[in-house]
Amino acid sequence: MVKRMFCLNALMPAVAFFGVLTLRADSVSFVSVDTTSVAGTSGFLDFTFDPGPFLTQSAFASVAAFSTDGAVGAPAVSGDVTGTLPPSIILNNDTPFNDYFTAFTFGDTLSFTLTLGGPAVDSPDGVAASGSTFAFSMFAGDGSTPLLTTDTLDGFAFTVDINLDGTTKLTNFSDPTSVESAVSAVPEPAAGWLCGVGMALLISLRRYYSTVMPR
């Protein structure tokens, strides 16, 4: 019995520990853009989040806490996009082209929180062969001439790839755009729940054995 208790003592923390490790947190980034140089310009903002050509695991991109001293106009929405800016939209990669293209009068600044999540980020299956990519762009009044970016070919201010291992890769083409990653030190709710259950079970087992079993 002592041997059994020893095994449980060793096993339970391990279960709790690996329960945390195998789950990833969403990728959260704080985005702010200094738009002073184009303040007063009527143009467009574009948020797009699209899957790859091969088998792609589900994922979402959330644009939240959108804030600006500019003026947001009417959007044109394509694909699986819900919500409105401000304050937030969610783009899913379920369809080939998921796009939120909104009229916008630039002020001095704009900011938002970008969260990439879903199974492709939180629990990569090792089967998918394509990631998904989020892109943010700013355009002049013609809707295609890029603003505030060195990417004159495609006009992206920045892109974020979701890699097949759930990590993300940022490519920033815009000097006035700051994209700061906020990797959460707090485990995801599911992971925390598993950890708590594991620890509670461990404690209760230790109490049980220490009560009924002679030392």
Partner: protein
């Protein structure tokens, strides 16, 4: 009466057979690929003697010493019959002994450099070749003397502007000279210029394709043949005769390419990023990554052949197209090797006006 006819027939047949038992070479001659050429001073001259066996019978030409081309004697005369002494260079033959049979022919080439034609006076010149082995033939080879057909070349100042036919003649001459002179780069430049000036010049495509094939670039050679065929078919929807040379050339390039390229799909893993739409380029862009999962390094070049694209989707940054189906391909690695565990990524750009799903299979090949 019938018996008499039969006997006569047999005699005639025997005569024909007897005549055929003595194979004789025939020699044809041209200048810059024309029997009656026109060339400007400053252009190169390529003088070609084509030797073929009469009736296709087996025939060997060999000399006691030196290559068979030493039995060829080129004579150039001006309009008055005065023999000219142009500083032509005889290109060394591939083999010292010439063996002919069937419709196979052999060619001997003389080159006259562009710098050497600048000093030739205006006028019409005739050229002929004598093939003479009467005192030099080695044992068991053909002995005799034959005269070639006659070719001519009109030398003049380069017209300005050049007519279309002159453009064709000029750059084909420079290409042929460069090719035979071992200057492939200049030959390719000449053919590139010709094609840029005359995008429908099928001879230019064919010559460039053959030149690329000589250096092992069967992919681009095939592309050029396919382009030429496409242009021919576009210009001649109902041709009186098929473009046989182009079709044979394309088939040969396909065969060469198939022998050269190696499907490495079992040794690599091909993955992709998301393909995001750009409102600027109106394209879906992303990257495709090739990872060597095999046990050994894979020598480059490595390309991805894209198959199964939806009909309305195009790979806009393809390196070229492949095969009669026109599958686009893109170079992932142009040189070096992809070591074990190493990856290489290549940007991809797709036109997709219907905004539908972009799906395809990417087949990895080395050797192309």
């Amino acid at each position: 009466m019938n018996r008499t006819l039969i006997v006569l027939n047999l005699i005639c047949t025997a005569g024909v057979l007897f005549a055929q038992s003595a194979p004789t070479p025939e020699v044809g001659l041209d200048v810059n690929m024309r029997n009656e050429a026109v060339a400007a001073r400053g252009w190169p001259l390529v003088i070609r003697a084509a030797v073929i066996s009469t009736d296709g019978q087996a025939l060997t030409i060999g000399l006691k010493s030196g290559p068979w081309t030493q039995a060829l004697h080129l004579t150039i005369s001006d309009a008055s019959g005065a023999v000219q002494n142009w500083p032509v260079q005889l290109v060394p033959p591939a083999t010292p002994t010439l063996s002919l049979s069937g419709i196979v022919n052999a060619e001997a080439m003389w080159l006259l450099a562009p710098s050497d034609t600048t000093s030739i006076a205006d006028g019409l010149y005739s050229l002929s070749v004598t093939l003479d082995t009467t005192s030099t033939a080695s044992n068991g080879t053909w002995t005799g003397k034959v005269q070639s057909t006659t070719a001519s070349v009109q030398i003049e100042d380069e017209p300005s502007p050049l007519a279309a036919v002159d453009v064709n003649n000029k750059y084909l001459a420079f290409a042929a000279y460069g090719r035979l002179h071992g200057d492939t780069a200049n030959a390719l430049t000449a053919l590139g210029t010709l094609i840029s000036l005359q995008p429908d010049n099928l001879e230019g495509y064919k010559e460039k394709a053959d030149l690329l094939a000589e250096s092992g670039d069967f992919v681009d050679a095939l592309t050029l043949y396919q382009t030429a065929l496409y242009k021919f078919q576009t210009a001649n929807p109902n041709p009186a005769e098929p473009a046989t040379l182009l079709e044979i050339g394309a088939a040969n390039m396909s065969d060469n390419l198939a022998a050269q390229m190696r499907n490495i799909s079992t040794s690599v893993h091909v993955t992709a990023s998301g393909l995001v739409y750009s409102h600027t380029s109106k394209e879906f862009t992303g990257t495709v990554t090739v990872t060597n999962n095999g046990a050994a390094a894979i020598p480059g070049p490595i390309s991805l052949v894209i198959t199964g694209l939806p009909g309305t989707v195009t790979l806009d940054n393809s390196t070229g197209t492949l095969g009669l189906n026109g599958y686009p391909y893109i170079h992932a690695l142009t040189s070096g090797s992809l070591n074990k565990g190493q990856s290489v990524s290549v940007p991809v750009r797709f036109g997709n006006p219907s905004m539908g799903a972009i799906t395809f299979a990417a087949i990895a090949y080395s050797g192309m």
